[in-house]
């Protein structure tokens, strides 16, 4: 892998982890149950990407 690709890949993983954290925080803070369930669904692919599984 070229160095540029590697750097982009690392940044992407950091962004994925940040978004996963924001989603988790939003689930805790929201007063809307529909929003909470929606954030839970969105959380799945970001978490799997952070763990380098998909």
């Amino acid at each position: 892998m070229t160095t540029v690709s590697l750097v982009v890949m690392v940044i992407y993983h950091i962004m994925s982890a940040f978004i996963a954290f924001v989603l988790l925080w939003s689930i805790i803070k929201t007063k809307d149950v529909q929003e909470a369930i929606l954030y839970c669904i969105i959380l799945i692919p970001f978490t799997l990407r952070v763990f380098h599984l998909k």
């Binding site: 690709s5 982009v8 689930i27 149950v33 909470a36 799945i44 998909k54």
Partner: protein, 390 residues
């Protein structure tokens, strides 16, 4: 809506999310890190890694096993790669049949079963591919990993806007930077798949490979099917082999066509042009890959039976025939094994000083009669030092 009700609902939703993530994550992990056993025939004299020829590949997903079968008698060197596109299981199984059965009587044979191993660790998103397929044997069920056409984005990402093949400068689709059959002859400081091709080219040059064969399967909607695609440097071998196979062995003809000189990145073009080895690519029919197919499951993958593809054939939309018998995996592996044997035999007759002779590899009729599983051996019964994992 009380705070307590909201809190409990959130806890339940998060719990379900974690359970779903665990189930999905476990399935993805099991697929990505699955280890398939290979029982080495007594003809295998050495197992190397691809990184032995190009060290930057060490530790990557594409550092596949390289099986060397040495006769000890002078002759040439032939090479076979399977798993260039891991969604084409006939190619993988035929390469593994060679490793588990072949005995070399003259010259050498080099085999890579999973040449783009990273592509075997991902299936095609949205196409509902099965993660694994299973081949019945006399000692039980042997499990194989189903893959994709392109390397896993987890191993090579991001893709460029347009992939520019090196060194031809030809522009290709963005994802073809992860396609092992678009990145030849490779690039030492390129992407992982370009480096994989570069490593194979180093192998071909260092080991003095004179005959290179790349095994594939294709959809029936695609005109390059049931054929040998040949670099111009191998046209006599390919023509003689295709005529012999069609006349004496196969129920459906085996064609032969030239590698277009201006179409770059494919093994049949670049291996021949950049190494001097005679380079050929074999295609067998795989209805599973057709876009008009019905249910995409393991049954279709292994039997090649599909009423929708058959209907397309009735309307003359296909480049290969199909009936209710489909294209079973035994037929497809049989075509590959016989084509490899016939090409090697023809090559040896035309270049006697570089002859390669091998035995114990089943041909088309034997594979159909006994099934491909008959040629895989029980790793539990084999000596530990003769079992390797892919």
């Amino acid at each position: 809506m009380s705070d307590k009700w909201l809190k409990n609902t959130k806890i339940i939703a998060l719990t379900i999310t974690v359970i779903v993530m665990f189930i999905a994550g476990r399935a993805f992990y099991a697929h990505r890190y699955f280890k398939g056993s290979v029982v080495l025939s007594s003809g295998v004299t050495e197992v190397k890694k691809l990184s032995d020829y190009f060290s930057p590949l060490k530790g990557t997903m594409n550092d596949c096993n390289i099986y060397i079968l040495e006769s000890g008698n002078p002759g040439g060197t032939a090479m076979v790669i399977g798993g260039n596109h891991p969604e084409e299981p006939g190619a993988v199984l035929a390469a593994q049949v060679l490793v588990e059965n072949a005995q070399l009587d003259k010259g050498r044979l080099i085999v890579a079963i999973w040449s783009n191993r990273s592509a075997s660790t991902v299936s095609r998103p949205g196409d509902a591919y099965p993660q694994f397929f299973h081949i019945p044997t006399s000692w039980g069920i042997k499990k194989f990993r189903m893959g994709d056409r392109w390397a896993n984005p987890l191993d090579s990402w991001p893709d460029p806007e347009v992939y520019v093949n090196y060194p031809s400068g030809q522009m290709l689709a963005y994802m073809d930077i992860r396609n092992l059959n678009r990145t030849w002859p490779g690039k030492a400081d390129g992407s992982m798949v370009e480096q994989t091709c570069y490593a194979f080219m180093e192998l071909i040059k260092k080991e003095g490979v004179g005959l290179f064969m790349d095994l594939h399967e294709a959809e029936l909607e695609y005109p390059v099917i049931s054929t040998i695609v040949t670099n111009q440097n191998a046209q006599e071998v390919a023509a003689m082999a295709s005529m012999t196979l069609t006349a004496f062995e196969f129920e459906r003809p085996m064609g032969m066509e030239f590698s277009p000189p201006s179409l770059h990145g494919l093994s049949h073009r670049e291996v021949g042009d950049y190494s001097g080895a005679l380079s050929l690519l074999f295609e067998a029919p795989e209805p599973f890959l057709d876009r008009v197919r019905g249910i995409t499951d393991e049954h279709l993958l292994l039997t090649g039976e599909d009423p929708f593809v058959m209907k397309a054939g009735e309307y003359g939309l296909l480049y290969e025939k199909i009936d209710e018998k489909g294209w079973p995996i035994d037929v497809r592996v049989g075509r590959h094994c016989s084509t490899v044997l016939q090409v090697i035999q023809t090559y040896s007759e035309m270049y006697p000083d570089k002859a390669v002779a091998l035995s114990k590899v089943p041909r088309y009729a034997e594979l159909i009669e006994k099934g491909v599983g008959h040629y895989f051996y029980d790793p539990a019964e084999a000596p530990v030092e003769r079992v390797v994992y892919e």
